[in-house]
C-alpha cells in the first residue's frame, strides 16, 4: 500500500520537503516506503487501513535540527506529527491522527542533560526513556528514585506531556515537570518559567517564573515541540514497604473507595495507589484458556477459581509506605484498621506471597520506580494481543466508583470482553482505566470494539465523566465531549493554534485540535 499524502500536498512538494529534510538530518534519518512501517499503530483499531498512516518519518538529533525541519515544513506546508519515543501503544503508538503526516521522531534527542541529587530533579530530552533515566541514576549510585508508568520503554517527557501517571508519591507526571524548552512552529525557541531569565539557577526548581504559566499549553497539544523538560525526582526514602490488600466481591469497590478518600486526603496513602480488578491482575501471569475454554467473559465460578489459585481478590489494592519505620508503622496500622471492616479483606506484605510470579512482587518494583514491561502480559489473556485504554476520571467517592464500574464492566461484558480495569488514586480524583483486550487480527472484533468504545464515551459523558487521555482514533470524539458553553474551550484552543501555528503544520488533530485550513475543509 502506497503511503498517503496529506490533504492539499502534491507528491512533488512532499518529495522536495523530504529532500530538504535529508540535508538537515542526513539521509539515514528520513524514513520512507517500507521503513515507515515501524511508525504504524501495531494495535490499530479501525478497519480502514488508510487511516492514521504516516507518509514518512524524520528523526532529528538536536533542537537545532528540529528548528530547521520546522522551518522547511512551514514553508512547504508539510504536517509533522511529533512523537517522543512513539511507545504509547495503548493510544496509537507513533501513528499520526492525520494520514499523510511526516512523523517527527524525537527518539534521537536522548541526552540526559542533568541529574541533580541535591535538589532532586533531572533535565532530559524527549528521547530519554524511563529505562535510560533509571540506569543512569543506578550507574552513578545516586540516592534518587524515578516514577515510572507501566511500560518502562516510554519517554519521560512524552509521558508527562500526555498526562501519564505512575505509582510512587510522584505519580502525577505532569505535576512533577518543571521548566521546558519548546520549539514553536515558526522555529523560535522558548524556555518556560525561570528558564526565560538569562543566568538563572532555578529553571528546574520553580515552575511559574513570572507572568502566565504556559507549560500546560504544550501538554496533550499541538502548539509547540518540547525538546527539553525538567522532571522532579524523589529522594530515596529511609524505608519502603509495599503491600497488597484484597477484597472478595466486585461490589466492595464502593466501600473501598469511601475508605480510600480520607486516607488519601490526609496523606496516609502516600502514593498513587491502584485498585485493580481480578482479570487485569490474573492476566499478567495466566491466560484465559488456562481456566476457561468458552467464549465471552469468564463466569463467576472461574473467577473464584482464579482468586483461589492466585491469592488475589475481585479487587486488589496495591499501595506502599515510604519513610522510616517509625512513620510507616503508624501509617500501616491506620491503613489496616480502616480497611479491616470489609468482610473477607486480606492483607499481605511481600514476604507473605509465596507464588512466583506474583502481583505484589511485581508491583513492588513499579511502586519504587523500577521500569519494566511486565504489564504487557495482559495482552496474552485472550490471545489476540490488541488493546485500547478507556480512561474516564471521577471523584474519589464510593458512589462514583461503583457507578463507573457498573457502566463500564456491564458494557464491556455485554460485548463479550472481560472487564480488566483499575482505579488509580490521584490527589483528588480516580482515574478509572479499563483496558479492552481484543483480537487485532479479527475485523469483526475490531468493529465491535469501536462500537463499544464510542458507546462508553457517550454514556460516561452523559453522567459527567470525561476521559483524561485517549487513542489517536478517538481524539475528536473525546474532545467533543468537553463542549461546555458551545465548545468554548475548543474555540480557545483553535484560536491559540491559529496564532502559534498559522500554517497548521504541528500534529494536526492532536486532542481534536485542527488547524484552520483543515477545519474549513471538514466543513466544506
Amino acid at each position: 500500500m502506497a503511503e498517503p499524502l496529506p490533504p492539499g500536498l502534491t507528491a512533488e512538494r512532499m518529495s522536495d520537503a523530504l529532500a530538504r529534510f535529508r540535508k538537515i538530518v542526513g539521509k539515514d534519518w528520513v524514513f520512507v516506503d517500507d521503513r515507515v512501517a515501524s511508525y504504524h499503530d501495531p494495535y490499530t483499531v479501525p478497519n480502514d487501513a488508510g487511516l492514521h498512516r504516516a507518509h514518512a518519518a524524520v528523526a532529528p538529533a538536536s533542537s537545532e535540527e528540529v528548528q530547521a525541519l520546522v522551518k522547511v515544513a512551514n514553508e512547504l506546508h508539510v504536517p509533522l506529527w511529533t512523537v517522543s519515543r512513539g511507545k504509547n501503544f495503548a493510544y496509537g503508538g507513533a501513528a499520526p491522527v492525520l494520514s499523510g503526516s511526516v512523523v517527527l521522531d524525537l527518539s534521537r534527542l536522548n541526552r540526559i542533560l542533568e541529574v541533580n541529587e541535591k535538589f532532586g530533579y533531572a533535565l532530559v530530552e524527549p528521547g530519554v526513556s524511563y529505562f535510560d533515566l533509571y540506569q543512569y541514576i543506578k550507574d552513578r549510585g545516586l540516592k534518587l528514585w524515578i516514577d515510572v508508568p507501566d511500560p518502562g520503554w516510554g519517554s519521560v517527557v512524552g509521558n508527562a506531556l500526555d498526562h501519564g501517571v505512575g505509582y510512587t508519591p510522584y505519580g502525577d507526571h505532569f505535576g512533577m515537570q518543571c521548566g521546558m524548552e519548546v520549539v514553536l512552529a515558526n522555529g523560535e525557541v522558548v524556555r518556560t518559567g525561570m528558564g526565560a531569565l538569562p543566568g538563572n539557577n532555578t529553571w528546574q526548581l520553580f515552575k511559574y517564573g513570572f507572568g502566565p504559566y504556559v507549560d500546560g499549553l504544550f501538554s496533550q497539544s499541538n502548539f509547540g515541540i518540547v525538546t527539553k523538560m525538567g522532571i522532579w525526582l524523589m529522594s530515596e526514602p529511609a524505608g519502603y514497604r509495599p503491600y497488597l490488600i484484597t477484597f472478595p466481591r466486585e461490589e466492595d469497590i464502593e466501600q473501598v473507595v469511601e475508605i480510600v478518600r480520607p486516607l488519601r486526603l490526609n496523606n496516609v496513602l502516600q502514593n498513587a495507589a491502584t485498585i485493580r480488578s481480578l482479570v487485569l491482575d490474573a492476566a499478567l501471569f495466566t491466560t484465559k484458556s488456562q481456566y476457561y475454554p468458552g467464549k465471552g467473559p469468564i463466569p463467576d465460578s472461574v473467577a473464584k477459581q482464579i482468586m483461589a489459585d492466585q491469592e488475589i481478590g475481585m479487587w486488589n489494592f496495591c499501595g506502599a509506605l515510604y519513610g522510616p519505620p517509625a512513620i510507616t508503622d503508624v501509617l500501616w496500622s491506620t491503613t489496616r484498621d480502616a480497611f479491616a471492616s470489609i468482610p473477607g479483606v486480606k492483607f499481605y506484605f511481600p514476604e507473605d506471597r509465596k507464588r512466583r510470579p506474583d502481583i505484589l512482587i511485581h508491583r513492588a518494583d513499579t511502586m519504587r520506580g523500577i521500569p519494566k514491561l511486565t504489564e504487557f502480559g495482559f495482552l496474552n489473556w485472550n490471545g489476540g494481543g490488541g488493546h485500547v485504554g478507556f480512561s474516564p476520571v471521577s471523584p474519589i467517592t464510593g458512589q462514583d466508583a461503583i457507578r463507573q464500574w457498573r457502566m463500564v464492566s456491564g458494557r464491556v461484558r455485554e460485548h463479550g470482553f472481560d472487564y480488566m480495569g483499575l482505579m488509580a488514586v490521584g490527589f483528588r480524583e480516580l482515574h478509572h482505566v479499563t483496558v479492552i483486550v481484543y483480537d487485532q487480527n479479527d475485523p469483526a472484533e475490531r468493529q465491535k470494539l469501536d462500537e463499544l468504545f464510542r458507546l462508553m464515551v457517550r454514556e460516561a459523558a452523559a453522567e459527567g465523566y470525561g476521559e483524561y487521555r485517549t487513542h489517536i482514533h478517538y481524539m475528536d470524539t473525546i474532545a467533543g465531549t468537553y463542549g461546555w458553553n458551545d465548545n468554548a474551550l475548543m474555540k480557545m484552543h483553535q484560536r491559540i493554534k491559529d496564532a502559534l501555528d498559522p500554517n497548521g503544520i504541528l500534529s494536526p488533530g492532536k486532542s481534536g485540535i485542527w488547524p484552520r485550513h483543515l477545519r474549513e475543509a471538514k466543513k466544506a
Binding site: P42, P357, K372, L373, T374, G383
Partner: protein, 141 residues
C-alpha cells in the same frame, strides 16, 4: 488448532532492503544461540523439544524485561545472533520492539495455539551511528 505458518520480515526494524539479502531465513531454524521457552505451557516444552538443541535454553514466564537487561540487549547489540522462542505474543512483541532500536531483524513466526507463538529471530547490529545510546548503559552495568 490448525497450525498457521508465515514468515514475517519484521516491520519494526527499519531494515534496509540491502540487508535482507544477507539472510537466508530458513537458516534461522538451525542451532540457535539462545532458546526461550515459556514453561507454563506444556505445548511450549513439546515444541521446543522437537527443535535443534540450543546451548542455552531459558525458561521464561511471559515477561521479557529481566532477560533483556541480563542477556538479550548485549547479544543483539554486539554481534549477529540467532534466537528462538516458544512464548506468549507479548514476549516477542516486547523483545522485537526493544531489539529493533539496536539491530536489523528478520523474524519468522508461527502461531501454535491461542497462547503460544514459535519464533526465530536473526539480528545484525546496526552501524554505530544508527543506535540509541541506551544499550551502552547496559554494557556498563
Amino acid at each position: 488448532m490448525r497450525r498457521r505458518q508465515f514468515i514475517e520480515l519484521t516491520a519494526a526494524c527499519l531494515l534496509p532492503s540491502t540487508a535482507l539479502a544477507k539472510w537466508d531465513v530458513s537458516a534461522i531454524a538451525a542451532r540457535p544461540d539462545l532458546l526461550y521457552v515459556d514453561e507454563r505451557f506444556p505445548q511450549a516444552q513439546r515444541e521446543a523439544a522437537s527443535w535443534a538443541p540450543s546451548p542455552a535454553r531459558i525458561a521464561v514466564c511471559g515477561d521479557v524485561t529481566p532477560f533483556w537487561s541480563r542477556e538479550l540487549a548485549r547479544r543483539v547489540g554486539e554481534a549477529p545472533a540467532y534466537i528462538r522462542g516458544v512464548t506468549v505474543a507479548s514476549f516477542l512483541f516486547c523483545f522485537r520492539t526493544l531489539a529493533a532500536e539496536h539491530a536489523d531483524l528478520v523474524i519468522a513466526t508461527s502461531r501454535l495455539d491461542r497462547n503460544l507463538i514459535a519464533w526465530s529471530l536473526a539480528s545484525t547490529p546496526k552501524p554505530e551511528g544508527q543506535r540509541t545510546p541506551w544499550l551502552n548503559h547496559y554494557h556498563r552495568a
